[in-house]
Symmetry: C2
Subunit: 472 residues, 2 copies
């Protein structure tokens, strides 16, 4: 046990947790990663974060940075004992919302959904939308460049961040809380810290780009003739709507069937199971898109319906339903949102966070599926298909056991496939500790070398998040 | 004169220029920056760029990287003799256009307008729009994170780049030509190189994000009641159109008057000069926005007209004209595009590349204007107002001489004002050599220190673009 006095001085004794008080911070939510730490330190201000890092540096203690602890890649708990967890949870203030400029200045510990609810009252939104938004915090979302279902329209977390405040490993504060839309004064350290998973600095606050809340949405579930027409369908919907597609989610028949089997309260999206099901949503901030036309149809819905009819005439879409009410819309999304729980309930699973050029998705799926089956695995994939982001999940095939060796071999085959198509093994879930070996083995050597040099230049003692990205 | 044999071997003797052949590469287009070099080396491939950098490193020769040589900040010509200019002009291939995925893979030496013309045939656009697009090259646009008139809608150059290939200072090639929309595998070196102005690596190719060409545009010139309502007007137009505003350009009366006085073939945008003139343009890719309604009006134009009428009823807009033909639209843009020529014709001028929080623009202008007048200067500003980017240009006031000392003192006062409002002295023109002293004096020390560490880590010999960003 190292001397914790310096941390108690930095943040106040009640905010230095040990023993059972520290336990919740030392296991990630999946339960797969458990760590140990001398203490959990919970600063309340940027100054206290700087003081905490200064103390850790003086003591030579590694620091694991934690937000909402919702990492699925083992990025939020310590990999080895003998260090501290730095929790940002108490930096939870929305410092300012500028309605006219459509920006919000928020601290790292603000929970995504808390921010979104505060903004909804103002008719604004922070359009980063993923399952863990009820626990995930802004700092972690930025540190991992989180994605989700609306990236297609609004971009990844980095695209929604205008400025950053951070504490660098040496304890100095980087003042970059600018809301400027254009600012080119040297290296873009904001973009360097975003996605660096806390290995180069601790994000303490950010200026976020907001969007007006949509005035109307139109949601449909479509049965496509195959994955090979998905890009054609997406482009047709984008062209018809002028780029209003906000979500384009792939929900194939086996995955939907597994979801419905587990939770009978959920409704099947279509009467006949869709081999290639797509949940599509359009959203518009135009008042006239929310207006009702002479036939009594909401204009955006009529536009979606018209586009779908054209696609049916071209045999790209076989069947489809447009949600006729908010309740029907929620029913469709409830099926989509039940994916992760279904996987957990199915027993052991692995979900690949694959990213592919859009045109390569059909081939990838066509080749990965038999590979899974040969390995005694059953694919239950879903995907943010509009981004080329396929969560290719597998569980044990019926009657087969979960064999770690076979899963490992299958993983290697999937990574090889992704490399062949110029894809990525890490779309939006981060590298954390889980994928550090994959990164070490597969990253372009020139880039890996540059990453190591940058890490050594900014964090020469290797204090911040050891094990994350670079491995032990 | 150093030994040029290694460069002749790298790129072929005809592509190593000296003497008068080299001269055009050694003066920038403003004429303000003239440099000297042992040779101008013109590689044709990424491999030749790597070989050139390797040779320069072996000889210990500094390398100035040059694209279209359109820098307005002295970034494209050598600051000191005894080195080479590395011209990317021969890396001029459009390697691929993926119509379905809406991406283009292009080499650094492709001229912006050449790309745009090639894409127009496909119904696509690369929406980076600025005056120098007929000469500026993709590599330079990315290296400086160029902006322009359409940033409001489509973002800066970095927002339009999905992947990069670059040669690092040690001559290794960074392979990052990914067109993935989601890819998080360690530090984002793409975003680090973009905006680094060639000091960390030589961009050789990029995957660019394309957009469908608009089906219809609606363009207007508005007389606002003042700058203080500009944000209200912009938000009203965004709300009415669902975010279709593509340009929102401030053209105040004195600037328009100077433009019209110089070129009598140009037409005044409005019969009565607008104190606060705004050139606004909406663009839509929706077919129904291009359709004609029952009254014979194009829908997008009718929408713009309706929004302007609402704003007139609120006294935010005093007067306005909506272009009724492509010719009228071109007439309005011709006035906007004549700004730089007018400034050049007025004699010596300085144009501040100011960036401000949108809400601070009126105060900044109200305070900078009398400061200019006290310094014997006449402001002729224009601005990408929708981005908070004000090119606050000044010429000598009538009857006053251009006094470098007074201009210098005024510059300092402008930079102080910008700092007070949380603005930036470098929105989109880059730091180059011209603003290196400003950056050294005004950059957040923590960020400047981090920048220096990164530079030393990736370019320990200080080979690339010495003098740029960091000064001599």
């Amino acid at each position: 046990m190292s001397d914790l006095a310096a941390f108690r001085e930095a943040v106040g004794a009640p905010n230095v947790l040990t023993g059972s008080d520290a336990a919740p911070y030392l296991t990630d939510w999946t339960g797969a990663y458990r760590g140990a730490a001398d203490a959990v330190v919970r600063p309340r201000t940027t100054g206290e974060v700087a003081a905490t890092l200064g103390a850790a540096r003086a003591l030579g203690l590694p620091v694991t940075v934690q937000g909402g602890n919702t990492s699925v890649s083992g990025g939020s708990v310590p990999g080895q004992p003998g260090g501290i967890v730095l929790s940002l949870a108490r930096l939870d203030r929305i410092r300012a919302v500028d309605r006219a400029a459509r920006t919000a200045t928020v601290e790292a510990g603000v929970v995504l959904q808390t921010l979104q609810e505060a903004l909804a009252v103002e008719g604004l939104d922070f359009p980063l939308m993923f399952g863990a938004r009820g626990s995930a915090m802004i700092g972690g979302a930025l540190a991992t460049n989180a994605g989700g279902a609306n990236v297609l329209r609004h971009g990844n977390a980095r695209d929604l961040c205008l400025g950053l405040e951070a504490v660098l490993p040496d304890g100095t504060v980087m003042h970059g809380l600018s809301g400027l839309l254009k600012d080119n004064t040297g290296y873009d350290l904001r973009h360097l810290l975003i996605g660096a998973e806390g290995t180069l600095g601790v994000i303490t606050a950010a200026v976020l780009k907001l969007v007006p809340a949509p005035k109307v949405r139109a949601t449909a579930f479509l049965a496509l003739s195959g994955l090979d027409v998905a890009l054609e369908v997406l482009n047709a919907l984008q062209d018809a709507s002028g780029g209003l597609v906000e979500a384009f989610e792939w929900m194939p028949a086996p995955t939907v069937a597994a979801i419905l089997a587990r939770d009978p309260t959920l409704r099947a999206p279509l009467p006949t199971a869709a081999e290639t099901g797509i949940l599509v949503e359009l959203a518009s901030t135009r008042a006239d898109d929310a207006a009702t036309d002479a036939d009594g149809a909401v204009r955006l819905e009529a536009m979606l319906l018209g586009a779908v009819e054209n696609l049916m005439a071209r045999d790209a879409v076989l069947d489809g339903t447009v949600a006729a009410s908010g309740q029907q819309r929620e029913g469709l999304w409830a099926v989509r949102d039940a994916v992760l729980e279904t996987l957990v309930a199915e027993g052991p699973f692995v979900s690949f966070d694959a990213s592919l050029p859009l045109s390569c998705v059909p081939d990838f799926v066509a080749r990965a599926t038999p590979l899974a089956e040969e390995a005694g695995l059953r694919p239950l994939p879903v995907g943010h298909l509009g981004d080329g982001n396929i969560h290719f999940a597998v569980v044990a095939a019926p009657g087969r056991s979960w064999d770690a060796g076979r899963v490992e071999a299958f993983s290697g085959a999937v990574f090889d496939l992704l490399a062949e198509y110029g894809g990525s093994y890490s779309a939006e879930h981060g590298i954390g500790r889980a994928k550090a070996p994959v990164l070490a083995a597969r990253k372009d050597p020139a880039q890996l070398d540059a990453m190591r040099r940058i890490k050594a230049a900014l964090d020469p003692d290797g204090l911040l998040n050891p094990g994350v990205l670079f491995g032990p």
